[in-house]
Amino acid sequence: MSSIHHRGPARVQASLTPMIDVVFLLVVFFVAVSQLVDRERLELDLPQPTPSAAHQPEEGGRAVVNVLPGPEGTSLGYQVDGRMFAVDSAGQSELIDHLRQRLQSTPGLFINVRADKQTGWGWVAPVMSAARHAATLAGDSAARVRLSVDSGGR
């Protein structure tokens, strides 16, 4: 003789704990990613040579130097790792010191230079000069510089 046990309707319940775990993980992830992106890459109108002979950047440590555009092809300063450096001689010295520290802490570091296409060369050249001085102070034979360009979505 068979017997039927009536257990009542199946209990459907949403467990909030794993959802909260996942939401917090995602929040932390997005915050971390957005900070990294913001600190490294400012919104700049990079040069876009066509056809471009540029290539994808190699893997490795990098310090990204953003040349902030000013009016009429000038620059308002340089930004590296979220820090601002003035375009005067004091700012130049601080930039050299900062890059030297980065070079010493990360052997083989690349220095990526990002500048707006309208910015005058006279405002970008000090970054190159600072990179070379920093490499000399860090004991490197040469500064490994990379010029960032817009790939046009490629």
């Binding site: 040069p47 002979a53 092809g73 060369w121 040469a142 510089v145």
Partner: protein
């Protein structure tokens, strides 16, 4: 005996409730996958030109390139007329009218390049230095660099002083 049977039944109920719920993990994995796909589409693509800036020696270009060859100097200046800049190749190589013409010239005169056999003057590792005036825009400097690199030259640098 009845107590033992009840205890066994209780244990089996407890052990059957332990399990790994894959559904939430799959949810998260799909969310991350979608995020990365979207982020990849919207992140502006950047490429780079690589150049090394060696320490300066006493001579003007002695330390820049460890080669016996004199570098080919390309002077870049602003001008009021079209195309808004001037190019000059030092050493009597002339003045290309624009960056495209510079690229064609450099490609034609590279040994093994696009020109005729007797037109090859420079090897692909011939050092080339771009000397730009401070007022020249960054896009012109990069465009000149791109033209020379695109013509097949490997040792291209910028004069930064």
């Amino acid at each position: 005996m009845a107590v033992t049977s009840k205890a066994r039944s209780s244990r089996s109920v407890r052990s059957s409730s332990i399990g790994v719920n894959l559904a939430s993990m799959i949810d998260v994995v799909f969310l991350l996958l979608i995020y990365f796909m979207v982020a990849t589409d919207f992140t502006p693509g950047e490429q780079v030109f690589r150049l090394d800036l060696p320490q300066r020696g006493e001579g003007l270009y002695e330390a820049m390139f460890d080669q016996a060859e004199q570098p080919l100097l390309i002077r870049l200046d602003v001008s009021s007329g079209e195309p808004g800049y001037t190019l000059l190749l030092e050493g009597g190589y002339g003045s290309p009218e624009d960056i495209d013409a510079l690229g064609r010239f450099m490609a034609a005169h590279r040994i093994g390049g696009t020109g005729q056999r007797d037109q090859g003057w420079f090897t692909s590792d011939h050092p080339i230095v771009i000397l730009a005036k401070p007022a020249v825009s960054w896009s012109r400097v990069v465009g000149t660099f791109n033209a020379v690199a695109g013509a097949g030259y490997d040792v291209v640098s910028l004069e930064v002083n």
